[in-house]
Structure formats: C-alpha cells, structure tokens
C-alpha cells in the first residue's frame, strides 16, 4: 500500500515537473515557419561569418556550441545550440523563427540582426550537425595540405592600406598562397580590439588580402596605432597572428580639460576674474570695517580737541 502511494506521488511529481518544463520551453512555432529553407550555402566563408555573429550575440547566454557552457539561468537554462539533440529536433526554419521572436529571457532579434546575419548563424550551427557534415565539405574551397604557414604584412602608409599574405609549404616543397581564409585586422583600443577588416577580408588565390585602413581613426600623438593581424579562425592553421605598430591613424593630441580655467574647476583652476572679484570683495569689505573702526577711535580725540 505504502509503495503504491509512493509510486503515485512520484508519478505525480514527474508529471508536474515535465509539465513545467514543457511550459517553460513551450515554443509554438507555426508549421509554415518550420518549412522555411536556409537560402545560404554552407561554405567556409558563411560558417565563419556566422561564427562571428554567434559569438557577439548568442554566446553570452548559450555558450560555445557543443561545449554546454551556457549561462545557468533559472528556470530554464539556455539550450546548447550545437548539441545533436537540438539540431535534429529543429529545422532551419524553426531556429529562424525562434531567433526572430524570442521568448522569456531570450530576446527578439527580428530587428537587431539582419536576415542574412540570422541565416549565417543558422549555417554555423548546422555545421555541428553530424548528419549534414558530408554535404558541407563539398562546398568548401580546398587548399593543399601545407606546413610552415606564414603570415606576412605590408603597410602602405601613404595610401593608408595594409595587405597580408598567407602562405604555406606544400609536400613538394613549394610555397603557395592559401585561398579563402578569413583574416582579422584589429586595432588595439583601451578595452578591446576594433575590427577594421572591412567587408571582404578573405585571401585571394595568391593568398593575399588587402584592407583599407579607416581615414579618420585617431592614433596617438604621432598617429601610431597598435595593430593585430590574425587568421580569424584558429581551426585552420592554429593560432597565427602578428602584432605591429603602424602609423596609419590620425595624429591626435589628447585635450586635458584641466589645462584651462573654468567655473567647475577646483581652487587651482578657478577663473582669474572669480579670484580677483572674491579677493577684492573680501579686502574691500574688511577695509571699510577697519576704516569705520579707526574713525570711531578718533572720535573721542576730536571731541577733546574741540573742548
């Protein structure tokens, strides 16, 4: 008897628990939305730009795909978007719908991300889907297997552009350029790196990529900035980067607001006219008081003289 009560209680608890879970995750995606197809191909380029967008907009809650390092939010933690379970269960259209609409702690990205960006993220997530892996490989640009990958930088200060060359040594001992690899051109700022790579920072068939440095980006007094150039995705050839100080920025003299005297300044920076008026006022008032006092002292003397 006791056992049956226990069992019933357990069943009941399970029922409630599963119910609340279903409620919390209760996405109602219309079937028409589920059928939507991803118009973009799963090329290496699309996947890597999807990864960039993912890292900026999704990673802070969902963590890295397949790593299950999401933010532990209550009552429902964000899903690991790289898990096979998730990828099997949701169609591209379904993910697209959820990204657009949002629910609970999940914000809506309907207007904050462009359609292309959203599909890129879905392309990136789909690259973790084991069932579709083969199809992607076909679309990728193939570089020969290489060793001793090198990154060379050239800076043209007059025209404010930079070029990088990515090359490696093939099995036959020939050095060839590596094609279709995304590069990042980053400028060091106080709290992070500013990406100045532009629209299309992929290496061409010779392994070259050239970028235009922004014409109005401030540098230090001499116009120098710290640049970091690297292969965006470490997955290809490991960590490959080069840091360099280049004179491409606009020379900027930082203005020290304390250099000029102002009303809001402390005593040391007070405007001259305030100091003059104040000191003048104090001196003037006290001298009048003293003048009156002296006159009063003189009074009895005057009186005795008159007598």
């Amino acid at each position: 008897m006791k056992n049956t009560i226990k069992n019933i209680a357990a069943l009941f608890l399970i029922f409630i628990f599963s119910g609340s879970l279903a409620n919390a995750q209760g996405w109602s995606v219309p079937s028409s939305a589920k059928k939507k197809q991803n118009p973009y191909e799963a090329t290496a380029k699309n996947i890597s730009s999807g990864k960039k967008i993912y890292n900026l907009n999704c990673k802070s809650c969902h963590g890295d795909p397949t790593m299950a390092n999401m933010l532990p939010l209550a009552p429902v933690a964000p899903t690991d978007l790289g898990s096979q379970n998730f990828l099997v269960q949701s169609s591209d259209g379904e993910i697209y719908y959820k990204v657009n609409k949002g629910q609970g702690a999940m914000p809506t990205f309907e207007k904050t991300l462009s359609d292309e960006d959203k599909w890129m993220v879905i392309t990136f997530l789909r690259s973790f889907d084991k069932n579709k892996k083969e199809r992607q490989q076909v679309a990728e640009i193939k570089n020969p297997e290489v060793t001793d990958v090198k990154l060379e930088l050239k800076v043209n200060e007059a025209e404010k552009n930079m070029s990088a060359k990515l090359s490696g040594v093939t099995k036959t001992g020939k050095r060839v350029g590596l094609q279709g690899i995304e590069m990042s051109f980053l400028v060091k700022r106080s709290f992070g790196f500013l990406d100045v790579s532009g629209e299309d920072p992929y290496t061409n068939e010779k392994g070259d990529v050239q970028i235009q440095f922004p014409k109005d980006l401030p540098g230090d007094r001499e116009g120098q900035v710290n640049m970091l150039v690297k292969v965006t995705d470490d997955a290809f050839y490991g960590k490959l980067e080069e840091a360099r100080v280049v004179t491409l920025g606009v020379p900027t003299d930082p203005v020290n607001p304390l250099d000029e005297r102002a009303m809001w300044g402390t005593r040391a920076n007070a405007p001259i006219w305030i100091i003059v008026t104040f000191v003048g006022g104090v001196v003037g008032i006290w001298s009048v008081i003293f003048l009156v006092l002296f006159q009063m002292i003189k009074l009895p003397k005057l009186a005795s003289k008159q007598d």
Binding site: N57, S60, E110, R189, S190, D195, A262
Partner: protein, 311 residues
Amino acid sequence: MKEETSNNSRRKFLKSFGISVGAAGVVSSFSLIGAAKAAAKKPAEMVNLLTQDGQLVQVDKNQLRPTVTEPLDELQKRGREGIPGKSFVMVIDLSKCRNARKCMAACQNHHQLRADQHHINVLQMQDAEHTAPYFMPKPCQHCDNPPCTKVCPVDATFKRQDGIVLIDNERCIGCRFCIAACPYSARIFQWTEPKDSEKYKDLTYNIEANVPQKKGTVSKCLFSADRLREDKLPSCVSSCPNGVYYFGDRNEDAVTNGTTGETVRFSKLIEENAGYTLMEELGTKPRVYYLPPKNRAFEFNGDLLNEENLH
C-alpha cells in the same frame, strides 16, 4: 615685578612640558620594547599557508604582516590626477535593457552600498501619456561642465583630466550642496553607518572607488575608476547580461560593449542610432550617451500601473 612673574610662569610651563614629553617618550618606548619582547618570547604559533606555487608551508604567526597596500597619500594623489590621455565615455543602449538590474547589484557590491543606495539606478520611464514606456539605467553623467563641483566649498568633489568626476570622502564635510546642484540626482548621502563599516574599517580609503564609505559624506558613481586603471571595464558595464552598455575612450573614438566584448567606433554608433544626452539644454555636457529604445530586444515588462515606479 610684573615681568618676573611672567618669566616664572613661562619657566614653569616649559619645565612641566619637558617632563611630560619625556615621560610620554619613556612610557611609549617601554611599551614598544615590551611588545617586541613579547613578540620574540611567545612560543611560536605556526600557521599553515599556501604559497603562490601551490606549496603548503608553515609560518611563525609572529612573522605575519598584513599585505602592503598603497598608502593613502599615493592613492589620493593619483586619484586626483586621473589617467593621462584618456577621455572616458559611456553609451547606454535603451533598446536592449530589460531591467535585469545586474548592473546595480555589481555596483553596490563594488562600492559597498546597501540595496537601497544607488550609484546607478534602472528607472522606468514614460515621457508622456501616449508614449511607450522604457527602462533607463542612470549613472552619474560625469558632465564636462559639472554643476556639482562648482558648489563644493571644500574642493572635495572635482573633475580629473580623464573626464571623471570624483569625490574625496576624506575632504567632504557633508554639506550636500552638490546633491542639490546635480540635475540628474546622481549623488547619495550616507545618513547612517555604511554597510559593512565594521568589516572594512582598517581598509585604506580609495578615492577611486569611494571605499570604505564614510558616514556623513556624499558618494556617487565613479565609472569604477579603480578598475579603469587596470584596463578593466566598469563593474556595471561588464556585469550586464543584455549588451546594454558600451564604454570606452573618446580620444580613441572607440567604445567596447561589456557583454559581447565587441569594440565599435563611438562616433558611428552615436550617429547611426541617433544618440543623445540627458537634459543637454542645461549645458552640463554629459559624458553618458543614450541610444533611443528603438527596435527593442525585449518587450517592456514593467509595472506602469504602480505610480511609485514612474519617474
């Protein structure tokens, strides 16, 4: 006759003064020697400590010294000067705020404030009867023409070369003129013993964090000036889960988002999103910029029926 007595009294005074100073010296030296002897004699009580490379070692308890902290003078001096060449600005994207209040919690934790004291506060705003309500985090605006520093009679609150407006609680006399002068209500007054004042009473006062807080003085947002010195983003900026805050250096024309870590051009961000400042008609020239709540990431979930929540 008169002169004699006055000489006498001076001599007497000098005598007694000398004796008392001497006595005080002797007593204090005795106590010093005594303390030193006690330290040397006491049977060594050993403490287990973990070294930096992970080894467990035993150390005589008498040999232990508190960690060396920066002396007050040094902290005050560098706190007054600021970080050369910088010009800090904050950008708050109202379209992303959903009242998570993580910024407030992080701030109160950093600056040892109670839950009802705010250096930064998230307000529910509705500008007019038929306009859409939104959430607005409001820190100190670190104005370039600050009304608060103008009225301080003791030079306790001031602006530094990197644009941050700070307050020195060692100088503040608690007159609260600055609270009255600030149009943004950014300042608070410590009416009672601050939170954890017992716990932090031996801590050296840090002007760049206003800690430990002092009773009877004014306190305010400092853009976490102590963290900026280590190239870290302010507490509120880095604790936001929704990407509301950007923070950076206007001289570099770059601001970094505290959530995503993305760095963008400050001028472009303001230009493309129609950034504005609060009450610019007052001529205060704030350093905190707002992006309007357009294309929101979250629906407004506030409680507008409750009039207490409205600002």
